[in-house]
């Protein structure tokens, strides 16, 4: 198909299509980040992505896979550590977020043969989106949307009232793990566009914006996806025309929409 080829041959369209795929899953997952107060947790996972990249080079596995595995391992470690309650969770997250980022940077510096575009990894790169990346994004998105659909009631119930959910037979711990896995996937595939430092913003800003207008959880998810689309297409267009970095441009657009909605919506919160 020549049209598809022409579109996918253009790096801007590749970035846009990829970005929309990321926004499609960032919407629902971002809602869970907001509902379960996991913003800092998401940030910590995203920071560890750099360590994942370094490790992928070390043991030569695909970068996306390395990032997913690193994030899942860190997420499970975090859950286990935070149960022991020796340190407050935010202290623990602060330690691990920055340590993971630092270890990643130090490890990368030990590998002089490998040239990585650090700025691109940290803040996103419009030019970096390959066809293979698109496959990863849409494969990941399909997996996440499938999981969310199947697990929706249990996930929502354990978010509303964990003990009530447990009594009703919801496998709360397994769902928590599934959610971690989904976060790890979205971080791995969103990294290229918005960069590891700004992924959390793409998760929480559209969701928080949606909260202002939503009446029900599903309604909020739908709106978060729409606001994510607006942020990605607006941000990438900005980046294209003004030659600004992709990730920050997306986040600036998301933030502008947030201000607009919170400034103009007179509707009472429900």
């Amino acid at each position: 198909m020549p049209i598809i080829d022409a579109v996918l041959g253009d790096f801007f369209w590749r970035a846009l299509i990829g970005g929309l795929g990321v926004a499609l899953v960032a919407g629902p997952l971002g809602c869970f980040v907001v509902w379960r107060r996991m913003a800092y947790f998401g940030d910590t996972l995203a920071h560890s992505a750099l360590l994942g990249i370094a490790l992928s080079f070390l043991i030569s596995v695909p970068v996306n896979l390395g990032v997913i595995i690193t994030c899942v391992v860190l997420a499970v470690a975090l859950v286990l550590f935070s149960r022991s309650k020796t340190l407050a969770t935010d202290t623990l997250l602060g330690i691990l977020a920055h340590s993971a980022l630092a270890i990643g940077l130090v490890t990368l510096s030990f590998m002089p043969d490998i040239r990585v575009d650090l700025t691109g990894l940290l803040f996103g790169d419009l030019l970096a989106m390959s066809r293979r990346d698109l496959l990863w994004i849409y494969g990941g998105a399909a997996l996440i949307l499938g999981l969310l659909t199947v697990l929706w009631r249990g996930l929502l119930m354990s978010t509303i009232h964990e003990e009530l959910a447990r009594v009703e037979g919801v496998p709360v711990e397994r769902l928590r793990l599934a959610l971690m896995l989904m976060f790890s996937i979205v971080i791995a595939v969103a990294m290229k566009i918005v960069g590891v430092l700004l992924i959390t913003a793409l998760l929480i800003i559209p969701a928080a914006t949606a909260r202002r207008l939503a009446h029900n959880p599903e309604h909020m998810v739908g709106l978060a996806i729409v606001f994510g689309f607006v942020a990605v297409s607006g941000g990438l267009t900005l980046s294209w025309h003004l030659d600004t970095p992709a990730g920050p441009s997306v986040v600036v657009t998301a933030f502008s929409v947030f201000l607009l909605i919170y400034g103009s919506a007179r509707q009472a919160q429900s």
Binding site: I160, L164, V167, N216, P217
Partner: protein, 259 residues
């Protein structure tokens, strides 16, 4: 009503860091039972029912439950994250039960008119009724309530305990609840368990207030006020208040004289 136990605890123990919070508790709940757990703060009441619910690992003893039991749980609070928008309808339907069943349950607890309202806009008492309705919509075999009367005014409390009894009659379920309000408990319950880590005493409400262990735990005035309450069902609350506050010997003798 059968004699078969829905839940049976034998010498059930829960320890936090080697400190027993629930200590060798025996408990049997059959269909149709309404059992109320009372006890001072930190007595392990909530821990005990969480063990029954299967959400608190036990450190010793045994807990056996009829397989396939549907449990309705009414937690102490519904603290909903303000970022999570949800209507009463959606919250009820999350129980996985059909809408008709959810509406019936809401009607029983008297808040069916709030079906389309946001849960965030409900008062404390309405949230309590919502939690109860959610448990009822599941048509439980065993209903477990953690201080269901919190945030409900005094008339509402009496109605609430009436409701719990009528639910027991309708569903022929077993009921375990924790309560702080001793007067209402005594009026509404079949059996009282006084917990202070271990079971201090248990029995029928009318008997338990004479139990030395009960008097030691709750103090003489409380025990006496309950005894008085049971001997004068038709008296107004003012009078009870007078008797409760009377800690001098004259009043004590006075209340003893009623026996």
């Amino acid at each position: 009503m059968t004699d078969e136990a829905l839940v049976e605890l034998k010498r059930l123990t829960v320890r936090f860091d080697d400190r027993p919070v629930v200590d060798h508790v025996d408990l049997r709940v059959r269909r149709g039972d309404i059992i109320t757990i009372i006890g001072p703060n930190g007595a392990g009441k909530t821990t005990l029912i969480k063990a029954v619910l299967g959400i608190q690992p036990i450190s010793g003893g045994s807990l056996s439950m009829t397989p396939g039991l549907t449990i309705g749980y009414v937690p102490q609070h519904l603290t909903l994250e303000s970022t999570l928008p949800i209507s009463v309808k959606r919250f009820m339907l999350l129980s996985g039960r059909p809408q008709k069943q959810c509406l019936d349950a809401l009607a029983k607890t008297g808040i069916e008119h709030l079906f389309n309202a946001s849960v965030h806009h409900l008062s404390g008492g309405e949230k309590q009724r919502l939690l109860l309705a959610r448990a009822l919509a599941r048509r439980p075999d065993l209903l477990v309530l953690d201080e269901p009367a919190q945030g409900v005014d005094i008339n509402g409390q009496a109605a609430l305990y009436d409701l719990i009894r009528s639910v027991r009659d309708d569903l022929n379920c077993g009921v375990i609840m924790i309560s702080h309000d001793l007067h209402l408990v005594m009026a509404a319950t079949d059996r009282v368990i006084c917990l202070n880590q271990h079971v201090c005493c248990s029995g029928y409400p009318a008997d338990i207030s004479h139990d030395p262990a009960f008097i030691e735990t709750f103090g003489q005035p409380v025990a006496e006020s309950l005894a008085v309450y049971h001997h004068h069902h038709n008296h107004s609350h003012d009078l009870h208040g007078d008797v409760v506050s009377g800690e001098d010997d004259g009043h004590r003798e006075c209340s003893h004289a009623h026996h």
